[in-house]
Amino acid sequence: MKRKTFFLFSSIAIGCFSLLPFLWFVLTSWKTPSEIEAIPPQIIPSFYWGFYRSALEQYGLLRYMGNSVIVAGATTLFTIAIGSLAAYALARFRLSWTRFYLMLLLAISMFPQIAVAGPVWRILNYLNWLNSYHGVIAAYITLSLPMGIWIMTTFFKELPYEVEEAALVDGCTRLQVLWKVVLPLAAPGLFTAAILIFIHAWNEFFFALLILTNPTLQTLPVGIALFPGEYTMPWGEIAAASTMATLPLVFLTLLFQRRIVRGLSAGAVKG
């Protein structure tokens, strides 16, 4: 019983500690302008919604949100489409280098982004893709493919191969097997990969900042980061915008938490 109480309290403490910044800006978003600047700080807000309104109306939060949906959505779609083909080949074809290749993918997915930022910028500049959706989407796809392929490979490997062989005998080509048998069976896995990729793309800041200098194309993290003007620091609007930017992810995570955990631990047990 004592152990249980200790466990409960320590987990609450750790949870509070981790959530504190989040809690802080959620509370801030509900404060009035004078409450924000009050010293000593006033912790309980008076649930003022004005900053939400001005974030949406004056700072164009909806546009940033729309950009983020387009960029993260397209990144997810293309990564799954390309990645599933690669993952299927890696999971099924007995090639001598697949293990090495998977290790390489894992290593690549751990590269610090700053290391590739220069080349990425130069390539996009050369293609004249800076300041475009397709430019940032292309960059995101290359970032998310290694992780996506890794997760999907693990899921594909778990499927019984005999079912695919049965489909081959029943008259399918390899691509038909993938389309008619593997993808429907691996749907939960694809979905997990998709959510993780989406979250990743939604939160990405560095490349978006680098590639998108045109405010009409910027995504949420960059847009919010650029709220402060030369002489203004709109704390309230930043807090309100951050809260709204986080909500979709909180929903996704709560809704699919079991699957996300499974995707994150993919390869830990088997693969």
Partner: protein, 364 residues
């Protein structure tokens, strides 16, 4: 329907030969069983015929056509897998219809064939269910149904009964045999179970270490095994092997080991004469050992000590010992032998098999 011909078929995984120079002719409408212990290459052979495994060397013909390079879908075969391999996301009907749909059969024809197959297999009531809602036996039927709706030239079965419980296995065995009689199709069937092989096969091919050891009708393989492996693998309980020395006294040839002396029957003595003063391996099937009549001659019987008694109901298995040698005998259920008691066992010299201890080939 078609005949299937394997010509010096080989498969190497890395440096290991899974199948070596396997040659086999499966006649049109024949039920051929590939049988052997796990790892003998029987499944690999079947998978090469299906096109699921690349061929390292050799040729496979289905009908008149060389199929080495053909993908599975163009070989006009159907396969039933050990773990059924049903499509989990499709209903029973869709599972059975899938192959026809992929081949663009008209809907009416698909419907007709699936219903027909479902009726033969007694699964009409399950057509709308998903595989996970079925029992093992029902799944097996659906897997067979999926194969038969296609009316393929050749059926391939890869240990289809080994996931079923013993009772169901016996029942399905009979049904498969009936089905073959009805469809009159060419079947290649892989199993490690020699009882299945014996009961189902028109002919059986015993395999070991990637090589086909003997091809023949079940009873022929049983009564005239070509080597020690086939002799030991076919028949249950397995044949007893006894190392003995050949000797000749007064012109009479016999094989002897401590406690057992077998006079060589006249018709065998010519071949066995060359083994005079050498070792041979005797093979005696448990069913060829009987409780000896009192006073029976030492020429056709020997004394043993009972170690284990296993009553099966219709008969009794006796594990006995002669000197250092353990033997199994399958005796009449009227036998009253007990643990640690002595018993005399009789044999029929004509039914004893002889093997060369070095080559393990039968001395015929």
């Amino acid at each position: 329907m078609a005949q299937v011909v394997l010509e010096k078929l080989s498969k190497a995984f890395g440096g290991v030969d899974a199948v070596k120079d396997a040659s086999l002719i499966v006649q049109d409408r024949e039920f051929m069983v590939l049988v052997g212990p796990s790892g003998c290459g029987k499944s690999t052979t079947l998978r090469m015929i299906a096109g699921l495994e690349e061929i390292t060397s050799g040729k496979i013909f289905i009908g008149e056509r060389l199929v080495n390079e053909l993908p599975p879908r163009d070989r006009d075969i159907a396969m039933v897998f050990q773990n059924y391999a049903l499509y989990p996301h499709k209903t029973v009907f869709q599972n059975m219809a899938f192959g026809l749909k992929m081949r663009k059969f008209p809907r009416g024809e698909i419907e007709k064939r699936v219903r027909e197959a479902a009726e033969i297999l007694g699964i009409q009531d399950l057509l709308e269910r998903k595989p996970r809602q079925l029992s093992g036996g029902q799944r097996q039927r659906v897997a067979v149904g999926r194969a038969i709706v296609r009316h393929p030239r050749v059926f391939l079965f890869d240990e289809p009964l080994s996931n079923l419980d013993a009772k169901l296995r016996v029942q399905m065995r009979v049904e498969l045999k009936r089905l073959h009689d009805r469809l009159q199709s060419t079947v290649i069937y892989v199993t490690h179970d020699q009882v299945e092989a014996m009961t189902l096969g028109d002919r059986i091919a015993g395999m070991k270490d990637g090589s086909i050891q003997q091809i023949g009708e079940p009873l022929e393989v049983y009564s005239r095994p070509r080597n020690k492996f086939v002799a030991g693998f076919i028949g249950s309980p397995a044949m007893n092997f006894i190392d003995a020395s050949m000797a000749e006294v007064h012109g009479e040839l016999y094989a002897e080991t401590n406690g057992i002396r077998v006079t060589i029957p006249a018709d065998r003595s010519r071949r066995l004469a060359s083994y005079r003063a050498q070792k041979v391996t005797l093979g005696i099937r448990p069913e060829d050992l009987h409780e000896a009549h009192p006073g029976s001659s030492g020429k056709v019987s020997f004394e043993t000590v009972v170690e284990v008694v296993e009553p099966l109901g219709s008969e009794i298995l006796l594990d006995v010992r002669v000197g250092q040698q353990s033997l199994v005998a399958r005796v009449n259920s009227s036998c009253r032998a007990r643990h640690h008691e002595k018993i005399r066992l009789a044999f029929v010299p004509e039914r004893i098999h002889f093997f060369d201890p070095q080559t393990e080939q039968a001395i015929i």
